[in-house]
Amino acid sequence: MSRIRSRAKAFAAVALAAAMAVGCSAGSSSGPAAATGTQDSVDAALKAGGSITYWSWTPSAKDQVAAFEKEYPNVKVNYVNAGTNKDEYTKLQNAIKAGSGAPDVAQIEYYALPQFALTDALVDLNSYGFGSFEKDYSASTWAQVKNGNGVYGLPQDSGPMALFYNKEVFDKNAIAVPKTWEEYVAAAKKLHAADPTKYITSDTGDPGFALSMIWQAGGHPFGVDGRNVKVNFADAGTKKWTAMWDQLIQGKLLAPVKEWSDDWFRALGDGTISSLVTGAWMPGNFISSVPGGSGKWAVAPMPTYDGQQAVTAENGGSTQSVLKQSTNPALAAAFVRWLNHAGGVQPFIKSGGFPSTTADLTSPAFVDEAAPYFGGQKINQVLTQASKDVAPGWTYLPYQTYANSVFSDTAGKAYLNGTGLDAGLAAWQQSIVDYGNQQGFTVSAG
């Protein structure tokens, strides 16, 4: 009861600011040009104080909230870990449908953001003038929080992809670090032939990984224009990836180990899995969860198809967004601004996250830091370069979380039976098209 009342009070205190914000966001939906408000209302809300609820599962959230409350003692942040990715999205979706129960601020992964932005569940942060932060973030992450002319969050972490490899296993089997995918496939064959207990990598069918790989290969399977969606897993880029990855699947060159399981961590430590192509956020996981691999692992740029032009893709990464249901959106926006544009960034980096803020991506302290786990290698030089080499122009589906949830039922069969990724992706495409049309989108294939 008292919380509700204090919320109401806080709301009244910034009623003016909130009213301004509502006015602005209403303007943004009618005009074609991006509406730009100012940050004054956000500053006023911070000064007025109040309380907000924040849903997140990021390990640094607790420390960040504590640091924020220390800096702004009149703001109370009710931090709730409402579940990890899909679980949280289910709850958010339900709360949005029910019209109440959503938090003020929520962590949302980039792939899921369009879904919430499109259903008008999120506040366009342009209404607080956050559009002017564009220059402060890497181009690839800013592109992820933008949807149309709206800015629906400030980027937190980014995951430009790189090749993590077990130097010890590579050296022992006389394998050079592959620069092209052709070399990578050759290395997979050579390694498994020399030592049948070892595999180049593992992949039991992860939709996020598959899409990142298609992204890097230059594929554009999804085209989204309002409620019109095009799905095409038969473009040249996608085919480039499937032709390459099929060789690993059908040659049984992938370790049969489920990602993120105890077996997987074990396999990373004992060399069973000797390389990973994954996001730049991986080093923290190596340090905390794969102690056995210390001193053995190293980082190299992601292999490419031509071996000439460096190109990579994003894998994973989250943003924090303000929900339209928030009774104090200006204060919520202030929290998001602090989280990903001010004091919240350092605790995030310290917990092993990989930033998306250009200031940190170019600061010598970050770039030239030697990582003891990786034998003293300055891994951030590779990883920050990767963040500049992300292929532009990628789009996710406006219902990507559903699509990902049916990946294993469709494309996943290709991994199990070795029936070819093209057929698997065609099945995935079919279910994506069907579901989208049922949901009121106009979805066409090809």
């Binding site: 709360a95 109440s100 105890d262 956020w281 996981n285 969860s289 994973g316 990464g317 996250g353």
Partner: protein, 287 residues
């Protein structure tokens, strides 16, 4: 009953082999759980799944499970107990009263109730979760214990079971005799009927307890604050910590927590199976 059979059943090798396989199939996961709950996180990653290895860390794991994250496991255990005692207990009482009423009293609309109950048995709880959420959200009950307890109170299957059981187990003559002796209907229910129904009630209690104890999807949808989670959802949250950027796997605590979670259920089965067995055979012999 065994004494009634005249010929000893023939031994079947095939059947024995199948049962042995089934036993293995049932026990191996349990053995795996027990074995791995004794390992530290590090030795989980370095030893094979079905052999002991590394330091014996069971007690250390238990201590950690109870203290991790300010002892949230205790809170989840308490929540689960609350949901089970109030939810499953309430469901048993309601099912007993309603089942008995439907079996022994004639009133208009009885057939309709029968149809509704049978229909309700057929609808999976998962399909009802989201509509229930929307309804509870309108009532302002989401994210409270009531959101878990109220749906748990309804057990159409339990009601049906008691109904069928009461129809057979309680002779109408008994009720009539009690009425002639001047007992009111409520007193008959408490002093005469309940005792007759014990095997049925225990069976229903066991079903609803197991169902509520293992309830996962409903709390997952209804609750957003970890402080109201039952063990199932809480343990899944611990398990999910191993995923993605900044992962903090605590597999040893997930395993130990799971082991601790099934102990009360095993105890409940051991204590109640006596009643349960006699409950299952009810109606098989002409009285």
């Amino acid at each position: 009953m065994a004494t009634l059979s005249v010929t000893r059943p023939k031994k079947s090798r095939t059947l024995t082999a199948v049962m042995a396989l089934y036993l293995l199939y049932t026990l191996v996961p349990l053995a795996w759980l027990v074995i791995n709950a004794t390992k530290t996180q590090a030795s989980l990653f370095s030893t094979s799944g079905l052999s002991f290895g590394g330091p014996f860390a069971l007690f250390d794991n238990i201590a950690q499970t109870f203290t991790y994250n300010n002892g949230i496991f205790f809170r989840w255990l308490g929540n689960t107990l609350l949901y089970v005692v109030v939810g499953a207990g309430g469901a048993t009482i309601l099912a007993t009263a309603a089942g008995y009423g439907l079996a022994k009293y004639r009133f208009p609309g009885r057939r309709a109730v029968f149809a509704v109950v049978l229909g309700a048995v057929a609808v999976p709880a998962t399909a009802l979760a989201v509509p229930t959420f929307l309804m509870f959200s309108k009532l302002g009950l989401t994210n409270t214990p009531l959101a878990i307890i109220i749906p748990s109170l309804i057990s159409p299957f339990g009601l049906y079971l008691i109904w069928v059981y009461a129809a057979d187990a309680i002779p109408d003559e008994l009720l009539e005799a009690a009425r002639i002796d001047g007992a009111g209907e409520f007193r008959i229910f408490l002093t005469v009927t309940l005792r007759q129904l014990v095997p049925g009630i225990v069976t229903v209690a066991l079903f609803t307890v197991v169902q509520t104890w293992n309830n996962y999807f409903l709390p997952l949808i209804m609750l957003s604050e970890p402080k109201w989670y039952p063990l199932t959802v809480g343990l899944n949250q611990w398990s999910a910590q191993a995923n993605g950027a900044g992962a903090q796997p605590i597999f040893n605590l997930v395993l130990t927590g799971s082991l601790l979670t099934i102990i009360p259920l095993v105890l409940a089965f051991l204590l109640m199976q006596r009643f349960w067995q006699s409950g299952l055979s009810a109606g098989s012999v002409k009285q």
